[in-house]
């Protein structure tokens, strides 16, 4: 049986180790409750997918031929761009929500004791 890992390039080995490390990091983040279950499944699935493509780069060829890409790396770049845009969009939405929450809190603090001033105008014109 071919020892497939002996055919791997140093770059592939490095990428493989990194992917395994990221899966481990996702798992420990989940255990420390920094990620919820859905987030853990999402990130670990992503890295398992990367791991599979590293070990079986021929899969890239099948995908790239299907989408008519001339270079295998181009498909990786495009997928990465799509993921980055999705993350940026989600961050934009979260920032908007956060801004709104901060505004509401600051305004509530400002008006917390406004009723105490109800007598202010009854003392006559200021």
């Amino acid at each position: 049986m071919e020892i497939w890992w002996k055919k791997m390039t140093p770059m592939q080995i490095l990428a493989l180790v990194y992917s395994i490390f990221m899966i481990f990091l996702s798992y420990t983040s989940y255990k420390r409750k920094e990620l919820n279950y859905k987030e853990f499944i999402f990130w670990s699935s992503l890295w398992v997918g990367v791991l599979i493509l590293i070990v079986f780069p021929g899969l890239f060829l099948v995908i790239s031929m299907g989408f008519k890409y001339s270079r295998i790396l181009d498909i990786a770049y495009n997928i990465a761009f799509l993921i980055i845009f999705l993350i940026v969009f989600q961050m934009y939405k979260k920032i908007n929500i956060l801004n709104k929450s901060i505004e509401n809190i600051v305004r509530q603090i400002a008006l917390a004791n406004i009723e105490d001033f109800k007598d202010h105008d009854k003392k006559g014109k200021i």
Partner: protein, 218 residues
């Protein structure tokens, strides 16, 4: 009861004169100190105004919301909004309040004579036409901060914008809610021609208008 709402950000130089001018014509002056880092709040309190403070600067729209909601909680029947930079003449408050006999909201429209900086004149003209075309509202000075309205109108014109774009959103909400409005000419004093809405703000306002028109504004 008439309450004047003055949103203020770093206006220690002007706030004293503004409050002294305004308090002759209203029952209560409510200053919204929008995270100022100077003595705006201290000076306003010394002049007898009620001061509420944002611990962080939020912008004109948020400050107006705080001030108006505060005024309503104090029992205001009529609310007058006026800028803290001394641009508006407080002696015209009675003119605005009087006009409320025949409408629900009055907007003080700044004269576009020689006094108004050219860039503001052009900006106002552009925004007037955009508001008219997109929302069928004919208000010449959409960016004026000098307004008077009955407190029950607030829920009809309530806005989301935290910044300078609030002025346009109020005008648009007036149109959408079919609130009875009037526009009356007022004098304007231009102390600092660089202050106020800039070209960048104008572009942001235009983008917001498109969002409000086509983005399903509630």
């Amino acid at each position: 009861m008439i309450v004047a709402v003055i949103p203020a950000y770093n206006e220690e130089k002007n706030i004293k004169d503004v409050i002294r001018g305004v308090k002759k014509y209203v029952d209560t002056v409510l200053v919204v100190n929008d995270g100022s880092i100077d003595r705006t709040a201290e000076i306003a309190r010394k002049e007898g105004a009620i001061v509420v403070t944002h611990i962080k600067n939020l912008g004109l729209g948020a400050s107006l919301k705080t001030g108006i909601e505060g005024a309503i909680r104090l029992g205001a029947d009529i609310i007058v909004t006026i800028d803290a930079d001394g641009q508006h003449d407080p002696n015209e408050i009675p003119k605005l309040v009087e006009a409320l006999r025949t409408c629900e909201i009055v907007i003080g429209s700044r004269e576009t004579g020689k006094k108004m900086p050219f860039i503001k004149k052009m900006g106002n003209l552009v925004l007037y036409w955009i508001t008219k075309i997109l929302f069928n509202v004919s208000i010449k000075d959409t960016q004026s901060g000098f307004r008077a309205f009955k407190s029950e109108v607030y829920n009809k014109i309530k806005w989301e914008s935290p910044g300078y774009e609030v002025a346009s959103e109020i005008v648009i909400n007036i149109g959408k809610s079919k609130v009875k409005y009037k526009e009356i000419p007022i004098n304007t004093i231009y102390i600092d021609k660089y202050k106020g809405t800039t070209i960048i703000d104008g572009i942001k306002i235009f983008m917001n208008m498109l969002k409000w028109k086509f983005g399903g504004k509630k």
